[in-house]
Amino acid sequence: MKKLFIKETLNSPKVLFDPAKKRYEIAGKSFPENSRNFYQPVLDWFAELTEAEKSEKITLAFTFEYISSSSIITLKQMLAKIKSLKSKGWDIEVLWYYEQNDPDIKEIGEEYTKLIGLDIQMVSKT
């Protein structure tokens, strides 16, 4: 598994996939002009996982402040891909962090669980 790092900007989140340190996170604001282009490297990363990497546990943490509607659509596709990989034997856990006073972000995580049927762990930030 290769390392993937995309620096956070005013309209796009930090992406850090670091297999050596077992850290997988996407955090920040997500409203890039073209969310499909922005998240394509992440979608490619999942597409390049090999059979040999099935034994590696991946705990992916999402911590969003804001998500635009176009990002919500692209993230849905990413989570559907993760569900597909899980059903084929890859060990991927998804954590969805939200602030207690931010019901909107919490709701988005819950909607993904309903829509995709993926087990997403909701985690309240203290």
């Binding site: 409203f31 890039p32 002009e33 499909r36 804001y66 919500i72 692209t74 849905k76 006073n101 829509l115």
Partner: protein, 232 residues
């Protein structure tokens, strides 16, 4: 230097537009805002066309003079991706500084992103005037009003107006159900997010939005959408 000259020319154009409007009002019909085909539009220069949007912007700003009213963030100019980042950043910090509740700030931020991205993706870019738009975020006693105006093709303006009319008929539960239906079925298009953005705006302001479309010639219209967020 060019900007100064341009500003000067715009300043000179304003009285001319006022004269045109006065003439039309004198004739008993406010064709400037209501006409289906303003006959004089094609005679105007690019600066004057841009000024039509500026006129509307200044009119909007003037609405917030008075007790309990205050403009938080406003802008009139060209749209690009960087502009969205800067305006959302500025609006969020200004709202925090003004003591808006965190919940209200989040709602305004979400609506603002959707409105600005709609303009970036669907606004009509013309050679003469680019993709101009105006934005006003203002406090009106215990509520915030967020208003965006831009140039769109009239055909698209009609389509957006029809979609917003449909959303207006829905209650909160119906809006939420519709949102999930669209999210569940929508195929991602190159322009992205069509439909979901408007539903998001309606949801975040509890359907407290208004809109208007004003034709400026036989192809283009000025489209305005205003969302109201109660600071509770």
């Amino acid at each position: 230097m060019y900007d100064l000259v341009r500003q000067g020319r715009k300043f000179m154009m304003r009285p001319i537009i006022h004269i045109v409007r006065s003439f039309i009002n004198f004739a008993g019909r406010n064709l400037f805002f209501n006409a289906t085909k303003p006959f004089y539009f094609n005679l105007l220069t690019a600066e004057m066309k841009s000024s039509l949007l500026e006129e509307q912007y200044i009119g909007l700003l003037n609405r917030y003079n008075g007790p309990g009213k205050k403009v938080i963030t406003s802008f009139h100019g060209q749209m690009d991706e960087e502009r969205i980042s800067v305006l959302t950043y500025t609006a969020e910090h200004q709202l925090d500084k003004e003591g808006a509740r965190r919940g209200s700030v989040k709602k305004i931020f979400n609506i603002l992103i959707e409105m600005l991205q709609n303009i970036l993706l669907h606004g009509k870019v013309t050679e003469e005037v680019g993709n101009p738009f105006s934005l006003v975020i203002a406090q009106n006693v215990d509520e915030y009003e967020l208003s965006c105006t831009n140039l769109v093709e009239t055909e698209l303006a009609t389509k957006i107006a029809n979609s917003l009319d449909e959303l207006k008929k829905m209650n909160e539960k119906q809006l939420k159900t519709h949102y999930l239906e669209v999210l569940g079925n929508e195929q991602y298009s190159v322009k992205g997010g069509a439909g979901l953005g408007l539903i998001t705006i309606a949801l975040k302001c509890n359907n407290q939005f208004t809109f208007s479309s004003t034709p400026v010639n036989d192809k283009l219209s000025l489209f305005t959408i205003t969302a109201v967020i109660f600071d509770k």
